[in-house]
Symmetry: C2
Subunit: 269 residues, 2 copies
């Protein structure tokens, strides 16, 4: 329970103060913060609010979208995200690297672009002691969201850089199906910067972006994955991040109570 | 053009004679047959109809679903499918291996079951000179349709058997995102028993089973994939298989005409 972190997306209707208050009421010690509600409240004010509440920030979500056409804007926005991560003293900045550029079918080129933009951001992140966390995404999002499709591929990229500056996210929704999961999580070792959980439910909801389920409602063996991550040496927070329109309509305190219960039932060792 | 095959699913509203006639009218020399409409018409009658029309059968779709609870029924149904493949003199029997059994979250066990059932079917297929084609499926279908998720994983399994009896399907929809695609298609070599094409479109249609697009409507670089498959030594048919509810409402002759045109524009070398 003391490793559970509530990703703000799970209570998407909440402002930052509301999400922080819900964590405090439920005894959840950490939060995964999203940039949009953070900026709405103000970065410095948000950092102070979270610190005053005694919460730890397990991640800032998210930077990335490295494949967007305007390289200058991509770099500027990701540097802002790095600054925000430093301001929150968050464990990492989650990077969703982006899909194919508009009109392009050249996947190798998009992947090369991701490597180039990452390299360009390294010095700025290193100076601010911010850890970048590459998120491999379920192939369902390869075209429009993330051309990093497997943990192995994310590690191939991460391993070109200092582990203090570039790690990876292990998110159950994105990696659960991978036939090479056992080997790649072991390989990830101290590169694991974030461990996120939500379930794969069927039939998949119509909007694939909001297709994620509460742990226990779907097909993922969380204990197996949590064991792999623990054996790999990860001792950090376990962030519950659920994009789901039905869940977002529920009362946030009730959602957080369910998260706490399901985490204990399905994830915690 | 002489390598184009129309998978019957692309004109799903057609009976077998209607699909055969549509191929003949459009000058398409091969057809991928589905078991349900074949049995509706009669297996022997269907084989005679197709042969009389001068068509070649590039595949029978499909056997598999090895993870279903009743092993006896799984084996019996797949032996029937092998017999039907032999009756049609089809190039291969496509195997969709099945998802997680009802109520199970044990993916490694489901994958082991697939290997066991495949091994049990080998002698029956070998005696009838039928080639089984393992179809790795996009991870979007891992839970409910196919626990073989990558071409590499399918090859790991196929390579335990005689290549004359066990091959693999390379289907653009299922493999296009794979960061290891180049290497695995080259490795597949004479294991490639079927090459199927359709596009990955976004936003993904609500029913993921019917989420496939006409070549050119989505994000896949078909020429790149066709080049890889050709370099691997494959010279067989290229089957256009599109599960799409909008397409199924169109006039079949118009659909086939579009298939012929888009194949020439996007796939043929």
């Amino acid at each position: 329970m003391n490793r559970l972190s509530l990703n703000q997306k799970t209570v998407n209707g909440c402002t930052l103060p509301e999400a922080v208050a819900a964590c405090v009421r439920a005894g959840v010690a950490s939060i995964g913060v999203w940039r949009e509600p953070l900026r709405e409240f103000g970065v410095e004010a948000g950092a102070a609010l979270i610190a005053d509440a005694g919460l730890h920030v397990s991640s800032l979500c998210r930077g990335g979208f490295f494949t967007a056409p305007d390289l200058g804007e991509v770099l500027a926005d990701n540097r802002r995200a790095i600054d925000e991560t430093a301001a929150l003293d968050a464990d990492c900045l989650v990077l969703v690297v982006g899909g194919l550029p508009p009109g392009s079918r050249d996947l190798p080129a998009a992947r090369a672009r991701v490597a180039d933009v990452l390299a360009a951001l390294i010095p700025y992140a290193a100076e601010r002691r911010v850890r970048l966390a590459l998120e491999p995404m379920n192939p369902i999002y390869c075209a429009d969201r993330g051309v990093l499709s497997t943990l192995g591929q994310a590690l191939d990229l991460a391993e070109q850089h200092d582990p203090a500056v570039v790690g990876v996210v292990v998110d159950s929704f994105h990696v659960w199906w991978d036939p090479d999961l056992e080997r790649q999580v072991a390989r990830a070792a101290d590169r694991i910067a974030s461990f996120q959980v939500c379930d794969w439910i069927t039939p998949l909801p119509a909007d694939t972006l909001l297709a994620r389920g509460m742990m226990g409602d779907g097909h993922i063996d969380f204990r197996h994955l949590a064991d792999l991550v623990a054996k790999a040496g990860y001792t950090g927070d376990v962030e519950v991040e659920i994009f789901n329109a039905d869940l977002w309509r529920e009362d946030p305190d009730s959602v957080v109570a369910t998260v706490v219960r399901r985490y204990a039932e399905h994830v915690a060792g």
